[in-house]
Each structure stands twice: as C-alpha cells, then as structure tokens.
C-alpha cells in the first residue's frame, strides 16, 4: 500500500477528523481568547481538567451530556482564574497561563488519585458512539468519514460556524474584535472592556475543556495521566497558523489531524526502516514549522498581551 492508497482510504479520513476534533475545540477556544487580546496558555491544563471532570462526571453517573456540561464548567472555572489575573489585575499573561496549566493539571490529577487511590487499570465508561444516521451512513466514502463520527465531532464543527457567526455577524462580535485591537475604542463607546475580555476567556476556556472531554469520552473511554500530551500547545501554534479565523482554524486542525493519521499509517508501513519515534515527533515538528512559516505575516490582534486599566489612558 502506498501513500496514495492511504490518502484515498475512508478509514484515514475518518481518523483525521477524529484526531482533529479536540484540536478544533482547542483552537477555537484559544482564538476566542486571543481575539480579545488575552493569550491563554492555561489551555494545556484546561484540556486535562476537561478530560478528567467530564470523565469523572460520567463515571459518577451524570450521563454523557452531563459529563460534557461538567467539563465545560470546569474549563470555565479555570478560565475565570486566568481572566481575573490577566484582565482586571493585568498580570503577565504568559506566567498566569502557565500557572493555570499547572494548577488545573495538578487539581485534576490530585482529584483523580484521591477518588481512585488504588486502581491499577483505569476504570472505563461507556463513551459516545458514532452517530449512525440511516441512509447517510451508508453513502460510499462520505458515509464512514462523516456520519460515523460521534456527536462531539459534530458539536466541534457546529462550534466553528457559531464562533464565526458571533464574531462576524453580531454586535457582540464587533465589540470582541474591537477590544482585541484597541480597548479604548470599546471603553469610549460605553462598553465594558473587562466584561468582554473576561467573558471571552471564560467561554474560550469552556471550549478548550470540551477538547479535553472528547479525549476521555469519545476517543478513549478512560482517563490517563499525561493524556493531553501537548495538544494544547499545538492549538496555540495552530491559532497563529489560522491567523485568528475560525474557518482557517478548522482547516488547520484538519490538516494536522490528517498528518497525524498519516504518520501512524506510515509507521506501520515503513516502520522497519525508521525508528517509530521519528513518526511520533513529526506532529510537533510540523506545528513548529507551521508557526515559523506563519509568524512573519501573522496579523496579531494589536492589543494581544497588553493589559488595559480603566482610567489610565
């Protein structure tokens, strides 16, 4: 089987979309935060918190959608910490984000360990099943790729449209874009800079947590330590690659998913020639390359990283 055959196979594209799903949530969330001027490096920890909280809620009997809600709330909570530290207090977004990542990760791990002190193999839940749409699922090619994904993948794609619509077609979106470019413009029109930024960071963090929830509730059926494995950081690179546009974010996540799916398949094909780690490294190196390529022409939101204080102009 050669690369062309891989690229034409249904299972490859189905896997790409599956791998891309958590990244779509993550990139959208990071985009929403950065669009208003706040870099959210809490993403890696918020992924872990979403994964743990969602899984645990289901394990405790909340039901799958109950788990999704709990994950989003957990993300919103850690996002609120980051928002308070960086928006009204105007503290370093880099350090606060890293602090939130460490905090969210250790809260998740500690909670998991405390709830399940003596388990050797992690307990499993019944995860989201593929949405089997009659007729459509039986379509050749498209059927397996699109209509055998779980509800969370569909939710992710729906969110792309929603975030795009809100940003580009509503008064709220105009205000969010303005606050990331020049907070004074929003303040002068009587809108609250703090409110818009805190709201965006909280909502963005909830989206990020859904990416984590996908890992434990759809991609796998259990929670593992270290399962986020840099996905959050990849999202931060992809936002720049996507130049802060939801549509391009979807594209970037899909490209990344396709590449990751490809390297897994190549590994089984030509694994004898190269050590497996070369393939494992590839997605991270790809993210770095994407960042290097996009960085020079990147049109950063002008107010990114710049704190704003009321009454100090």
């Amino acid at each position: 089987m050669d690369i062309l055959q891989i690229l034409l196979s249904e299972s490859f594209w189905a896997a790409s979309l599956r791998i891309a799903t958590p990244l779509i949530f993550g990139v959208l969330g990071a985009l929403l935060c950065e669009k208003t001027g706040v870099l959210n490096l809490g993403i890696e920890g918020i992924f872990a918190a979403g994964a743990m909280a969602g899984w645990m809620a289901v394990w405790l009997g909340a039901g799958l959608w109950g788990g999704v809600l709990v994950a989003a709330l957990a993300g919103a909570f850690f996002g609120l910490i980051h928002a308070i530290l960086t928006v009204p207090l105007g503290l370093s977004q880099h350090v606060s984000g890293l602090g939130v990542t460490m905090f969210a990760t250790s809260v998740s791990y500690f909670t998991y360990r405390t709830a399940l002190p003596n388990v050797s193999s992690p307990p499993r839940i019944e995860p989201f099943q593929p949405l089997d749409v009659p007729l459509l699922s039986d379509l050749p090619f498209l059927g397996p790729v699109l209509f055998q994904q779980t509800a969370l993948t569909w939710l992710a794609i729906l969110m792309v449209g929603l975030v795009w619509y809100v940003l580009n077609r509503t008064p709220l979106g105009v205000a969010l874009q303005a606050v990331g470019d020049n907070p004074d413009s929003v303040d002068a029109q009587g809108l609250s800079v703090y409110g818009l930024r805190i709201g965006a960071v909280v909502a963005g963090s909830a989206l990020m947590a859904l990416g984590g929830a996908f890992l434990t509730m759809s991609a796998f059926d259990a929670f593992f330590f270290g399962m986020v494995n840099g996905r959050g950081w990849v999202c931060i690179a992809l936002v720049i690659f996507a130049s802060w546009k939801p549509g391009k974010a979807l594209l970037g996540a899909l490209l990344f998913g396709a590449f990751d799916a490809l390297q897994v398949r190549l590994q089984t094909e030509v694994g004898a020639l190269l050590p497996g780690q070369v393939f494992l490294m590839a997605p991270y190196i790809l993210s770095i390359i994407a960042l290097v390529v996009a960085a020079r022409k990147a049109d950063y939101p002008r107010a990114l990283l710049t704190p704003w204080f009321k009454g100090q102009r």
Binding site: R169, V174, A178
Partner: protein
C-alpha cells in the same frame, strides 16, 4: 433655562473647576500642556472618576439632571460625545463597525447595517463630514480617522461634543474645514467644547474661552473681547520669553541624504526619493502633518530603519546599512519622538539611562564590568548641569516627570557634543518652561557647530527655530521657499509643490 452647568471638584489635576456651556455654543478650553484640560474632559466623559464635584446636564427640554460620573455609558446616554486626541478606533474594523460599535445591544443576534448606513448618510449630508464606511480604519489617513471619530459621536445623537486638540494632526486648511463643519453643527443646537493650546484657532472659532492653568480655571472671557496677548498671559501667568537667536553662516555639510527611499509597511512609514543636506550651524525644520513619513525619516537618521535605496552620509562618511550603533559612533545625537517608549528604560535608574548609549567606552566599563562610581559621578554632574529633577539619580527613570525625562535625554545627547542632532517632536507634551529649555539647548548646539534636524508637527515651533524649512508630504520632502504660514500649509496638504 437653555443652558448646562458643570461643576468639578478637586482632583490632583483639576482643582475645583467650574464650567458652564450653553446650547449652540463653541467653548474653547485653553491651556498649556499639563494644565489639566484633558483630565477635566475625561471626567466629564466618565473615563476618570472625580474625587469631588458634580456635573449637571440638561435634557432636551432644558431641565438639568445630575450626571453619574465615572461611567462613559452614562455620559453617552446624557448626550455627551468625546473625540480623543489619541483616536479610540479599532483599526481592524471598518468605519461603519466603528461608528455603530456600542450603540446596538450586545445580545442582538444580528446587526442592522441598512438602518445604520442610512442614518450615517444623513449625518454626513448635514455636516459635510465624509468618510469611506467600508474601509478598515487602519488603512485611513489621519484626517479621515478624525472624521470617523466625529461621526461616531454624532451617530450617538450627542448634544455636547468634546474635541481634544482636534487640529494637532491636520493641515491649517483641513483645520479650517473642520471648524466650518463645527459651526454648521452648532447652528443645529449642538454645543461644542474644544481643547487647544493654539491661540490662533481659539480666537478664530470659539464663542467663549476658558483658560486653565495648573489644573485651575484662571479666567473666562468672551472671544470678542479677547486678544492673543491677554489670553497668552492668562495661560502662562506671565509674558512668554522670546528665545534669542543669532545669525550664523552655515558651515560644512554634516548630513546628506541623496535619493533616499524607505519601503515601510504602509505609506505612513515610507520615504520616496528624499534628498536633503544639513550644515553645521544650521537647524533644518521638517514641517508636516503627522503620518507623512516623519517616522521613516527619523528612523533612518537614528539607525532604526534600513533605506531601500539612495545614500546616507554623515560628516563626509557614507553609512551603509545604518544601525543605531553606527549612527551613535558617527556622532549623531538622537532625541526620539516617543521619549517613554524609545528614550528611556523606565525600570532602570536615571544614572544607567544616562550611559546607556556608550556602554563600550572605557569611562563606563572595564573588562565588561560596569564602573559604578564613574557612572554615578557622571549622573550627578549631568543632573546638576541639565537640571534633571526627581527622586535622585539612583531612582528608576520612570518616576521622573515628562519634562525631566526629556532633560535626561538632552543631557545624554548633548554631553557627547554630537555633530548632528535629530530632534523628533522634542517639545511635544512639555509645558512652556521645559519647551523653552529644549529650544535653548538646541540653539546652543547650533552655535557650537552642530547641524540639527528638527521634525515637528507644530508649525509655530518650526517657524521660530529653523534656519531652513522643508515640508514632508506623502513620504516626499520639498524645500519651502517661503516662510509664509498659508504657503507652507498648502504644501503640507500636498497642494503646492
């Protein structure tokens, strides 16, 4: 009653200021830089919270209502609009979005763009203010941005419009057009407060003048009864001293630019085929409206920008690929436009900032280690010579006032006896005393034999200091053959070449 009353209490910047504005009136708020004009207006608009005092605003029927302070929302609701000196526009959005921003409730699921366009079109027709609605503000000229700012205020149906230094970024002719629009608006019942420190325009366009000094209102006069001398004395508290200057024959050239071009990111920071020469004993004034390539010109001379064509010669030596380092070594002293951003490292001490440009010299370091005593002694001496006042030379530079920061930079620059001095907006934001000090130092350097490039948006400053004047417009430089204000104004607008 068909008037409005505003009372302000004592804050640090404003001490118990009372003001009254009548319907359909243009009130000029006059004062030096730092007199508290902008602070006062920011309190009115809710950006600042006053410590004492109240504001009352009349409704349409003329009844006075107290205004909730500290909330721009309340000010907007009461019909107060403000056009800031630093525009409050989102550059990534187009003019339409900027104008409508905040006037629709955020919970709305759609925007009403048709209705908004119709309303803006009506306002444009009434006032004669024109702007392209679908162009991102980042791509607009300064003049157009200002019109968007004013349209933004008018769109909110303001009855009181505050303009903060509206002409600072305009050519004299553009300024006249703006004031014509303002007069047209007042005929329809709009009341206008405009902040200025330019006596000329205040006398020409206002009905009444209120003068602020050191945060207090020191006088109020009907414009008909005022003349320049009276209000100047009110502003400063004394007659302004004239800076004496002597006639000096220019010497050898110290700076030559030949066909120099800079390709910036936008037209605003590009230069096209610029040729100029500055001699010893000569101040070359560069007049122009901001955003016409001044920053590119200053960038090249200070070594921050790379020319894309042409040659740069300092004191007979051609400099290829200029860097700040090379320019310093070539004997160029640079006074940057934004003194906080480019001039000092605020978190480091005054003493350290005084030697930051000559860290390689043996007087400052030996074997890579700083000579702390020498640095300290140097700072003590310069602080005394240049009258840098503040909490001491070991204190952080950001604790100094704007004027003292500028003195720190002057000390650093003039102490090296530079052959060429680039002074970019050297008096912007300074009070008259500090500004006079800058002018005196520049003239002193001229007498000593330095050549000086003075870039300024203040035409009066250029006229009073420069031996020769060139006008910068759209990245091109043209020699002004006349010192006539009207003539130079037309050149600044690009209508005379």
């Amino acid at each position: 009653m068909n008037g409005l009353t505003k009372r302000f209490g004592s804050v640090v910047a404003n001490n118990a200021v009372d003001l009254t504005l009548h319907r359909g009136e243009v009130l000029a708020l006059l004062g030096e830089n730092g007199a508290g004009k902008t602070t006062l207006m920011n309190m009115l608009f809710g950006h600042y919270m006053p410590d004492e005092g109240t504001v009352d605003v009349a409704d349409d029927a003329g009844a006075l209502h107290p205004l909730m302070l500290g909330h721009p929302q309340a000010a907007l609701a009461a019909g107060i609009g403000m056009v800031h000196q630093h525009f409050t526009l989102a550059e990534n959005l187009n003019a339409l979005d900027n104008i409508v921003l905040g006037s629709e409730p955020l919970r709305m699921l759609k925007r009403d763009r048709v209705g908004a366009r119709a309303k803006i079109a009506r306002i444009m027709e009434h006032t004669g203010l024109q702007a392209q609605l679908d162009v991102p503000v980042g791509k607009m000229s300064v003049g157009e941005r200002q019109r968007v700012e004013i349209l933004k205020a008018l769109y909110r149906d303001v009855r009181i419009l505050v303009l903060d230094e509206p002409t600072a970024v305009l050519t004299p002719q553009e300024a006249d057009t703006l004031f014509d629009s303002i007069v047209a608006m007042t005929r329809e019942g709009l009341s206008v407060i405009f902040i200025s420190h330019k006596l000329r325009e205040v006398l020409a366009f206002s009905h009444r003048i209120a003068v602020l000094r050191h945060g207090e209102k020191v006088g109020e006069i009907a414009t008909d009864e005022a003349d320049e001398r009276v209000i100047a004395r009110m502003m400063v508290g004394a007659d302004t001293p004239e800076t004496p200057r002597s006639e000096l024959p220019p010497g050898a050239p110290v700076l030559q630019l030949k066909n120099l071009s800079v390709a910036g990111r936008s037209k605003r920071d590009s230069l096209e085929d610029v040729t100029l020469t500055v001699h010893q004993h000569e101040i070359l004034g560069i007049a122009g409206v901001s955003g016409n390539g001044q920053s590119a010109l200053a960038g090249v001379i200070s070594g921050l920008n790379q020319p894309t064509g042409g040659t740069l010669t300092v004191d007979e030596t051609a400099i290829a690929n200029p860097t700040p380092r090379k320019m310093i070594h070539a004997g160029v002293g640079r006074i940057p436009e934004d003194r906080h951003h480019d001039g000092i490292v605020g978190a480091m001490s005054v003493a350290e900032n005084m030697v930051i440009e000559r860290l390689d010299e043996p007087g400052v370091q030996a074997n890579g280690l700083l000579k702390r005593d020498a640095i300290r002694a140097n700072a003590d001496r310069l602080a005394a010579d240049y009258d840098v006042r503040g909490p001491g030379v070991t204190a952080r530079a950001r604790l100094l006032s704007g004027g003292n920061i500028q003195k720190l930079i002057l000390a650093r620059v003039f102490e090296q006896n530079p052959k060429l001095i680039l002074a970019n907006q050297p008096t912007r934001g300074l009070d008259m005393g500090a500004a006079a000090e800058v002018a005196r130092r520049l003239l002193e350097a001229r007498t000593r034999g330095a050549g000086i490039v003075l870039i300024s948006e203040d035409l009066d400053e250029v006229l009073s200091l420069a031996d020769r004047i060139m006008v910068i417009h759209d990245g091109a430089l043209i020699e002004a053959n006349s010192r006539d204000r009207e003539h130079i104004g037309l050149m600044m607008a690009g209508e005379l070449t």
